[in-house]
């Protein structure tokens, strides 16, 4: 009897939910007919089930429902904005390097093109724009060589105004006659001064003088 009651009571939960198989249901009903204890047990369980089902449901207070709706709406929209921002970032990121490269190329190309288009201002008389230029001979006075065909090499010092400051014979016969002739020649010759960054400055020029005989 006791074994059967225990076994039957294990099925009471299914019985309450109408989940018993036909055989179990028949056994339970048969048992309940003569077992007052189990009948009372089942009645108690049914009463508790009825009480549970009749319990008042908790409802969201209207103020809470409204504030919750506002709060959720705010959070959902804030998240949407964030998502939009992330999506924009993701979409633009792959384009960032090509776009930067394109802009940089355009700047370089435009700069080079504009550099070629610029016409340099012409200065007449033109000023040499090289960094350093040596002194130049503008006009050399005639010199009289009386002795042979030997050449004379002279190192001449020219100041910033184009005047000869001094000279030195580097090779050749140094005779009093030649010295006089050289003094005269250099005195009457005209020189352009050396320049540095376009400005006149002191410099040296090497003159190689030789007698030229023309037979005719």
């Amino acid at each position: 009897m006791f074994e059967t009651c225990v076994e039957i009571r294990r099925h009471f939960s299914d019985y309450l939910d109408d989940r018993c198989e036909r055989e179990s249901l028949r056994s339970i009903r048969f048992h309940l007919n003569y077992c007052a204890s189990c009948r009372e047990e089942l009645e108690q369980m049914q009463a508790i089930q009825a009480e549970l089902q009749a319990l008042p449901r908790r409802r969201v207070p209207p103020a809470l429902a409204l504030s919750m709706r506002v709060h959720i709406s705010q959070r959902v929209h804030r998240d949407l904005l964030r998502q939009l921002w992330v999506r924009c970032g993701n979409a633009l990121q792959p384009l960032l390097i090509p776009a930067s490269g394109g802009v940089l190329t355009a700047i370089i190309f435009f700069g080079l093109l504009m550099g070629w288009q610029v016409v340099p201002a012409s200065n007449i008389p033109d000023v040499p724009l090289e960094i350093v230029t040596p002194p130049r001979v503008r006009e050399l006075a005639p010199i009289n060589f009386n002795d042979g065909d030997q050449a004379v090499v002279v190192l001449t010092q020219i100041d910033a105004a184009g005047r000869v400051v001094g000279y030195k014979v580097l090779s050749g016969p140094v005779t009093p006659e030649l010295t006089r002739s050289l003094d005269r020649t250099i005195y009457f010759s005209l020189f352009a001064p050396a320049t540095m960054f376009g400005r006149p400055t002191d410099g040296q020029v090497v003159l190689s003088l030789r007698r030229i005989t023309v037979r005719g």
Binding site: R10, F12, S13, D14, L16, D17, R19, E41, Q44, M45, A47, I48, Q49, E51, L52, Q53, A54, L55, P56, R57, R58, R59, V60, P61, L64, A65, M68, R69, H71, I72, S73, R75, V76, D79, L80
Partner: protein, 206 residues
């Protein structure tokens, strides 16, 4: 947003439309979802969390999560089951963190006061006399206490079955357990309730 709307839970075809609208971010669909599910979810959450005043916070978290993850809902279960699963997960997490906090701090709780602050729906069977009303209120208080004293796994199953009317299959889906487990937890929960309330019921009958 009333009881009629709450009872008219969406059918399967209607549910697919509702989910599509929710995914599209429709405000009206969100409002409808709240109107239909906020009270059942609130009732369920209030029975799981230890401190019932926290139910409002948990409810809010549940629906934020629902709206955020609606695009991951592919209809493997019903929308109701899916929402209940989120609710139970959130409520359980909240309960665990509350218990941890409680271990650190000594809190004085006034459960009865918290319950009295909540809005309770009127019972369908209205008592005829003041005496019957008092008796019904006392009985409900006893049942509430007995239910609250159950361990959380049993309490959750009993609430889902008896109060929310979910089938065994649905409860198994919500909790992520087998139907056999649902059955055994329900049996154990009912036995415990009978043990706690049996004598009271007998006295009332007498």
């Amino acid at each position: 947003m009333g009881v009629a709307l709450e009872q008219a839970l969406p059918a399967a075809s209607h549910e697919a439309t509702l989910v599509a609208e929710l995914r599209a971010g429709s405000e009206e669909a969100f409002a409808y979802l709240l109107a239909v599910y906020q009270n059942p979810v609130f009732n369920l959450v209030a029975h799981i969390v230890e401190q019932r005043t926290d139910a409002a916070d948990v409810l809010q978290e549940v629906f934020v999560k629902v709206f955020r993850s609606i695009r991951h809902f592919h209809g493997e279960s019903t929308l109701k089951t899916w929402i209940y699963r989120i609710a139970i997960h959130e409520a359980s997490n909240h309960r665990r963190s509350w218990l941890r906090r409680r271990l650190r701090e000594a809190l004085s709780l006034d459960e009865d006061a918290a319950v009295s602050e909540m809005v309770l729906a009127k019972s369908p069977e209205q008592p005829e006399t003041p005496y019957q009303a008092l008796e019904q209120a006392e009985r409900q208080k006893l049942v509430q206490r007995a239910l609250a004293s159950l361990a959380q796994p049993y309490r959750t199953v009993v609430v889902l079955r008896e109060m929310e009317g979910l089938a065994y299959e649905e409860i198994a889906q919500v909790l992520g357990v087998s139907e056999g487990t649902v059955k055994s937890r329900l049996l154990r929960g009912r036995e415990l309730l009978k043990r706690k309330l049996g004598s009271c019921m007998r006295r009332q009958d007498v």
